[in-house]
Symmetry: C2
Subunit: 789 residues, 2 copies
């Protein structure tokens, strides 16, 4: 164990390098995902150049969703691969699994997004060769990726053959989304593949080109094109003498008809433009070289880091690196200017969850964007607005009114795309149905909640007028229609749902769902009232438009009646514990030690099936904890702590969303050591040593969770009653936490030290609560407050 290193960067790179310090094929999947590169437009898994059994090569382009057949759901299709570069040395296929490896390192430089793999290798027949593989996905030109391979024989010359090009023999675990495609070589230089998705008819144009050097001087190896089924390669043969350095630079571009550039065009016009643009693009890139492409991208990364970096001074350098690792992924997982696409649960780093967006975005990721890049947060919420048609369709299909957001969301009008079938039931051997798309309904309230949080942070009236009100009203209408009247108890209930804790299905009156539904309806009521009475002409226009479309008076009447009788589970007067759902306290308690201590999630499924788990007090993640975290003032501190402790003891943290929330809440409750432990846990979801956890891709929500643990947890940033509260408290291991945020347009620089916090403002005057005191800061003003532990 222990191939990941977190402290290998020195000097300028200290705190910036994630390193794989040994080659172990069991970690292939993990490192492919963790070292994933991208720019929001594309996501490129870091599969190695040469092939290995068990590898997964993935290139995804945002928004290119396709559906394999009627039995599957739409998903982000895996594009033809351009990362594979097969090296033949003296007639044998190079593999690190043969011969002997020396001094192996693979690093992801978070500062500039480049991966570098370096090692020396002794072939089985005694040739010693130095290798270096570099790769990048450009932040300067979102269509561009590039690789650089250097091979230096040290003791004897070699016959080198390199086969490199475009490989369309990839799929999504066997489901092929692309036509074979037209393949073409231009000028013995530019390799082209133009394919189309089989159902959604998205055309993708992939190109690559190569340059070859020996000791930095261009050479022309003997070249041979290979065009075969779904592939186009160039085979290059070159003799390399001892001590010479052979170098291959490969430039790759990808364009699709779903690119923003073609948004307004017809399919035919888009294809025509795509073909021209993409060919011009590779030709232009070919005029450049790897170093220049890297420099341009690095400049963009420098801007990101100047703006977004967070400093953590900790006894453990892992903490700083984990924070930057989260920020790295948070900044490549979303196309910040495209409101037609959301964030995948695995971003674009793997096939897991098919590129679909979940409540993860709103609850775990959006806070980061809201507070640091509000324009990105707005784009993401506009995506939810753009998917309203699908949400209305889902509501109607289920017999409800308003907008019922899909549990899993893909292209704008796809509606619900949760697969219907999942893994095996260990007891019966049957494939398990996936019920979340049917009955995990809280997401509609989560979206509404996020809209209002966004508004509180930004006061973006334009967003509310165009999109925000409508989302909140439509989700409220859904909830009002969703409530079920219980005649006996004289109350409305929400029955047969799944809460965030997915280890219990078909539950009634799930605390999280009921409270959030109430919140959503209450918010709609309040806002409808405000709009109606507003003297602002703009707001009056909004009211009229929405009233006409949605009948706001009717909405007010209905919601008002229903909300007053909605059952909201209260703390048990004796224990203070709120039942997670009806009958929770009656469920069997079992010894969970084995599962809580497992380094792998979901091990309880090895012993019990869903049916059995449903009858136990065992949680994947805690509904109450996330509820208390979102609605901060719902319960008094004493009950909060009781509930936290009661449920945490029964939680397996088998969701990647769990630990960060617990970290924030534990910190709130003064459980600093626990909070730090959970921060570490959240940071380790992908970056830790567990070798399989990231195979299907990194955990996007966990990246947001790491930021939340740090900034909302230890940094103590919270929105309470619509206002900003900063009340930090560092773990013992930390001596400093520096972060910034944007509150209603004003940038706040926050420096937290163990015994004091300093906030500096840049922008319009701003008021907020700082360590229990209301402060107002003018432009360039600072304020420092002591922190009592």
């Amino acid at each position: 164990m222990g191939i990941m290193k977190y402290d290998s960067g020195t000097g300028e790179l200290a705190g910036w390098l994630v390193e794989e310090s040994a080659f172990d094929p069991r970690y292939l999947g993990k490192c492919e995902a963790v070292f994933c590169q991208g720019n929001g437009y594309l996501g490129l898994r870091n599969a190695l150049e040469e092939e290995y059994v068990g590898e997964t090569r993935n290139l995804f382009v945002t928004g290119t969703f396709d559906r394999f057949d009627a039995n599957e759901v739409t998903e982000l299709p895996n594009m033809p691969d351009m990362t594979k570069i097969v090296l033949w040395i003296d007639g044998k296929r190079f593999s690190m699994e043969q011969g002997t490896l020396y001094d192996y390192h693979r690093t992801l430089n978070l500062k500039n997004g480049e991966t570098v793999r370096r090692f020396e290798w002794e072939s089985p027949d005694g040739k010693r060769i130095r290798f270096e593989f570099r790769r990048m996905a450009s932040l300067d030109n979102e269509h561009v990726m590039a690789s650089k391979v250097s091979v230096q024989p040290l003791n004897e010359g070699i016959d080198l053959k390199i086969v490199s090009g475009i490989n369309g023999r990839v799929s999504n675990s066997g489901s092929q989304h692309f036509s074979e495609g037209k393949r073409r070589l231009y000028d013995y230089k530019y390799l082209e593949m133009v394919s189309e998705t089989i159902q959604s008819n998205v055309t993708a144009a992939l190109h690559c080109a190569h340059k070859f050097f020996i000791n930095g001087t261009p050479v022309q190896p003997e070249l041979l094109p290979v065009i075969d089924r779904r592939v186009i390669y160039l085979s290059a043969v070159q003799k390399v003498k001892a001590r010479e350095t052979f170098c291959l630079e490969k430039y790759c571009t990808v364009h699709t008809t779903r690119d923003m550039a073609y948004k307004a065009l017809s399919k035919d016009d888009a294809v025509t433009a795509l073909k021209e643009d993409s060919k011009a693009s590779i030709m232009e890139v070919y005029q450049s070289d790897y170093a220049a492409l890297m420099e341009a991208s690095q400049k963009q990364w420098a801007k990101i880091w100047e703006d977004q970096d967070i400093i953590i001074k900790s006894q453990d350098p892992f903490d700083q690196l984990a924070m930057r690792f989260a920020l790295y992924h948070l900044n490549i997982m979303v196309k910040k200017d495209d409101n037609r696409v959301g964030i995948g649960a695995k971003a674009m780093s793997g096939e897991g969850y098919k590129g679909h967006s979940f409540w993860d975005t709103e609850v775990f990721i959006l806070p980061y964007y809201m507070m640091t890049q509000p324009e990105t947060a707005r784009t993401l919420l506009e995506y939810r607005y753009n998917t309203l048609s699908g949400a209305r369709k889902k509501a109607a299909q289920n017999g409800y009114a308003g907008a019922m957001y899909p549990w899993e969301s893909a292209w704008m009008d796809d509606g619900e795309v949760t697969p219907l079938w999942g893994e095996a039931d260990v007891v019966t051997g049957e494939t398990l149905p996936i019920l979340t798309g049917l009955i995990e309904q809280h997401i509609s309230a989560d979206v509404a909640f996020a809209v209002w949080e966004y508004y509180n942070v930004t006061r973006d009236e334009d967003f509310m007028d165009r999109y925000g009100y409508e989302i909140i009203f439509e989700t409220a209408r859904f909830w009002a229609s969703r409530l079920e009247w219980n005649q006996e108890k004289n109350r409305y209930e929400i029955n047969d749902v799944i809460g965030p804790d997915e280890y219990s299905e078909h539950v009634n009156n799930n605390a999280y769902t009921n409270y959030l539904a109430w919140y959503n309806m209450d918010l709609a009521l309040k806002l409808a009232g405000q709009l109606k009475e507003s003297q602002d002409t703009k707001k009056q226009q909004v009211f009229n438009r929405l009233d006409q479309a949605l009948d706001l008076k009717e909405l007010e009447t209905t919601v008002k009646e229903k909300i007053s009788k909605l059952y909201l589970p209260e703390p048990d007067p004796e224990t203070g514990i709120v039942p997670q759902f009806d009958g929770f306290f009656d469920l069997k308690e079992i010894d969970l030690t084995k599962y809580r201590e497992s380094s792998v999630v979901g091990t309880i499924y090895n012993d019990y099936n869903m049916e059995q788990i449903s009858h136990m007090q065992v949680l994947k993640q805690s509904d109450l904890v996330v509820l208390m975290y979102l609605l901060d003032d719902l319960f008094d501190p004493e009950n909060k702590k009781k509930n936290y402790e009661y449920y945490e003891a029964r939680t397996l943290h088998d969701s990647s969303l769990s630990k960060s929330t617990h970290s924030v809440l534990a910190n709130d409750l003064g459980l600093h050591e626990t909070a730090y432990r959970f921060f570490k846990g959240a940071s380790s979801v992908d970056l830790g040593e567990e070798m399989r956890s990231s195979n299907a891709g990194i955990h996007s929500a966990s990246m947001g969770g790491v930021w939340q643990s740090a900034v909302l947890g230890f940094g103590g940033v919270r929105i309470v009653g619509g206002e900003l509260r900063i009340c930090p408290s560092l773990p013992e291991e930390w001596t400093e936490l520096d972060f910034h945020m944007i509150w209603r347009g004003t940038k706040l620089f926050v420096k937290v030290e163990p015994h004091q916090v300093t906030v500096t403002a840049s922008g319009n005057p701003v008021s907020f609560e700082l360590v229990y005191e209301w402060v107002t800061l003018e432009n360039n003003m600072s304020v420092t407050k002591p922190i009592q532990k």
Copy 2:
């Protein structure tokens, strides 16, 4: 070089074992194909249990054709795989590429169709383990395959994990033909996957089950089912002590709705029956065990060999093995009782040529069946009859009458399925069009030729009445409509075709095509006349039926007029050489040494493109040689020899069909040494040392070719003027050749020795020419004749 061994069988197995004597991943594809197993219903590539980079796992079931999308052609889809068995030893994935291998052998036992792989292995951490992998595809129950894996740690105990099941993440080089499928585990024992092809809606049911033993005693390891996308596995964990032998037996079955059993059922009924039958089938097989399954299959093989074996006593044991290797594949490549399917150019041993049938069947393979298993030959010709509708469609689409057989043929009514695009043009970089489906037209005559040969061998009047006449008339009608009138030369021509030599496209008056078209029309004319004048009531009925359907009088008139003016290229009076096509002698001659000496075919494409090759005197295979071989008495011996020598010098033998024909003809011409060299060449197409030649599958036609070289060449068996001629002549290296054949129902056992030949008859009296003398044999009579060299 030199990992293949041909003399490792000893005792009873002498002459029966094909051996791979070392593990070299460069040979993966070759050995997968060469060691392919099957039974005519299914073809199973011999990919190793553990995975390797560069492997191709293939399971094909005859007739299950499917088309990925409108841009592709129908092909035999790759079924979900059940050969993969992943072994984890002490937590690491087992691979022969790591650690050290000792005493590696993989053998295919041609006698019983079993493959056995044995070796000892020292893991990188010093554990020494003995492995044995056995595999079979049953000849007793065509749905059944089985594997047996034995693992014996020698010095220290191991923690063994085995993951085995059904893997649907396979495709045809990236094109996925199957839906994800329903996966299910029954009784913790039977794994099931039921999938459907995406276009042709063939449902396939795959099942497998496992048994585990230690030292022969059943054990139950810790089991865990894994159902994920397109896969269902069982993971089994077992501790194995030093010197204990752990053994896994895996039983697999495959059934599809295209099985003969469901031929008469509706799709729904077929699916229902399939599900029941296939489940019952695996349960029944599970009651058996590997040894019993093997025994049952071996019994069937024994029958085959008793009936079909050919003895070659040669200085080089390779010759005997090569003959049996050919017979092995000839007996597993065809479903002998299913007239809905043909033989794929790569049989069912690889994706090459997509499972399509070519003229290969009629010209290179069918002679074997005609003369040894006439019922199989009939089934194959019935397949051509069943594809008449597609052939008529093709003729009509091209503006012709009658039946124009598809160059590539798949499911019965598919019509032409030749892909439109092939590999890269090395000069322009463009993908090359494949013209054979459009202009390689001789196949229609080849089919008619084969029908008549079959009739000559069998005198199967029933076949002729039902199918044979119609094929011959319809193809003749096609040719009559195809001829083009050359006003200037006052003759009919056939222009713009490709002959068997595919290195020249768009040629006029291709000698092979013109002569075969003439033969076809002439035959039709003769047969129509015979039928018309027949006194046999049955024949009169046939005449009336066909006359009504096809207007035989009109056919006679047209054909008679056209055939008399069809241009047939004659030997040049000076040189005796027949031009392969118009203007052949004007083409440039280039030095072909480099390409003729290359061990890899098609190397000329590395230097020239099709356009350039078309202007050179260079042949892939020789049209004249195959023409002189089929129409034995067309030219006199002197001109035959001249043409043979002229064209052979210009032939690259880049077709697998080339060498065997040359062998037969060279023998006819007294070039015995050359004939033997070509026999060796034909035998080495798959079995030789060239590592890539069989990657896409074995060469079915070459298997027939090896039989032809031996029996028609050295054995001197030929049909001349509709009668049998036997005139053997062994190469110097051989001391004996024993074979049998069936001539018009009578079995003839032929024993050829260097200076004499003995023929023994079993059945009705039979007459034939034996070494220039007409002989008649009664039942159980023998005749011996001396052979002069």
